[in-house]
Symmetry: C2
Subunit: 430 residues, 2 copies
Amino acid sequence: MSQLKDYNYDELVRFHEEVTADYKNACSKGLKLDMSRGKPGEEQLALSKDMLLLPVWDEACTGGGDARNYGILSGLPKCREFFAELLGVEAGQVFVGGNASLSLMYDLIAKAYTNGLLHSEKPWARLERVKFLCPAPGYDRHFTICESFGMEMITVAMTDQGPDMDQVEELVKDPEVKGMWCVPKYSNPDGIIYSDEVIDRIAQLKPAAPDFVVMWDNAYIVHEFEGDYVEFPDILKLCKAAGNEDMVVEFASTSKITLPGAGVSCFACSEANMKHLTKLITAQAISYDKMNQLRHLLFLKDKENVIALMKKHGAILKPRFDMVISKLDKEVEPLGIAKYIRPKGGYFVSVYAKPGTAKRIYSLMEEAGVVMTKAGATYPYGIDPDDSNLRVAPSFVSLDELSQAMDVFCTCIKLAAVEKELESYGEKRS
Amino acid sequence: MSQLKDYNYDELVRFHEEVTADYKNACSKGLKLDMSRGKPGEEQLALSKDMLLLPVWDEACTGGGDARNYGILSGLPKCREFFAELLGVEAGQVFVGGNASLSLMYDLIAKAYTNGLLHSEKPWARLERVKFLCPAPGYDRHFTICESFGMEMITVAMTDQGPDMDQVEELVKDPEVKGMWCVPKYSNPDGIIYSDEVIDRIAQLKPAAPDFVVMWDNAYIVHEFEGDYVEFPDILKLCKAAGNEDMVVEFASTSKITLPGAGVSCFACSEANMKHLTKLITAQAISYDKMNQLRHLLFLKDKENVIALMKKHGAILKPRFDMVISKLDKEVEPLGIAKYIRPKGGYFVSVYAKPGTAKRIYSLMEEAGVVMTKAGATYPYGIDPDDSNLRVAPSFVSLDELSQAMDVFCTCIKLAAVEKELESYGEKRS
């Protein structure tokens, strides 16, 4: 099989006919599959079944306070210790919250708007303009937060080492640039790990805005599905060493360790930030759900145990990712019509189809009964400048369904690519 | 025993000596009691023990969706139905949230600031000034929310029928007045039920601000400890009938039905408000903890069952409130140095000591080892203009401890009162 770009016109027409037939065949199957979100599947959920049977009542006071009543805003002391070990920080740097780190992130930005962060000259709501750096492709829900507050999102290119730091270092000279999103380990959707150099450069940023905040969303901190657990630098320590102690807030949760939506989240930050934020949160909450914190503490115990549990998640996920990659390797790669990254952790495979075809592929998939993350969703304002990136989320469907979905996906990539080639032939002719 | 105001100087001096001796005696006991917050006690918590043993895993999909995974932002359908029955509204009017209605209230105000409410001309953060009506004495955490956003709080007097509506109707003519706090059933701290007339007048308000919001905190909707459950009007329906459909948001939670901090909260509002708010919440959360929603649904079942459970809570609380009232009746009432309300539900007894003595009483109590809600806390900015109101929270301590605490409290009320009398004698003499 030669690359599609080397096909002559007749070959393209023939290929188009073949792929169209494949696509029609796929459509006729009446599939109804959802590959849109990074949701754990049934087998993964079952790994946490026992958590729901733990004697939380009898152990109610073992977490460093009574988990059954009001109070202890910053979270059960032993739960703070648990997350501290996981993140490689100090327990005093950890605030344990409710069921979602996304809410903690949103709330932090909301408080920046209404009250200001620790070093804000005024609340962001009083500023003419707030700009935020969005390495892209990235996590759509980060961008939704920005949009909700009317921020101006500035797209930063992603490299295979993390965000393009030359760009970032230049952009932070603008005092209107107030922060930056990062998913440093198994980035959503590319699945890459930020290199040590990138992390160092982030820690050493000298932003013009005194209240610039690095939103360090460590969503996949223990989420390897291939190979051993990868140790990861403590951004809090690195920032402190660079004199940027208050510049970063780190977020994590058990959403993809235990049960999504019924897990426990946390943030970690400097002592001064903790004081500032805790004071603001005092108006918002008496305490978060400490019974669920306790339930997680009893079930997850410590980092070692978490990593053992994540091995089981990994064993369920690996065949799925293998399936995605092998289908792409077989059907798409030889044609030279898509690039993709082979992640070892996280929840996604990021596919870069032929520029100008992502939206078309999304529509074709939708018509064939397979819902993907919307094309463009991984970019600020939903606009992928190349109309190329598609995020594959293989965790939720069964292996058999995934196989079918990937067949359709490969067909759609091919169909959109050959349509594009034929289109440019037409343009050349006319 | 005659009233203190009728004592002559010598009687006052003698009384002062007696009460000082009582107080010293109390201090020598080394008490360490907390009557500061409306926290359920151990016996009440135990009523929900079985909830923690329910087979939530097996029942995971019985609430109208899979409770174990992301999604269903507005809450499990059957949990929405459950709260709808409790509040006497429609299921579609209910949004089921996380562990705390306080957070839902804070979040609503936060969104008013950053995005605006449904009928806001602009986000409140862009306004010169935002004023909020605070019937007082009231719930200190409502006032903390106002303070956190820099609102100007306007104190509205409480009558035994609810907020002074003549005042309210006058004040809402100011377009800078953006809303009002209400705890309509067993108001915190007075424990009174708003009269039908007051509720009607609230529903029929004609505020100048198009986005005026009634924060209807129905915290004690089923929280009778004496007598039968008292049916309560549906404020949503009344507002709708008055052409004010979007003016009110109602809040409730199971914090004092099951476990405080580990319960489930909700808000209820018009269809248009629901649409507006859900869209904004989409940026903040993927979903709230549906496993805990399910756990509550399985345990609480329906309104009838909730009322039966609340009877058990009431049986635990009643002797505590009886103790508070009987001590006050015996020790304080005959001296004419305090007024207090005899509630039939809720969590507090509101005591109006001799004007100018509440802070002194709080300090005396603290010195004797009994922590009360801070004097003034029940008023905006922590300032009770009469320095008179004290909130007694008898639920958390044991009956025996409560008896001791109330003895000290009565002694402190007397001591502060006689000090005040002697002081005015001194003033008259000099």
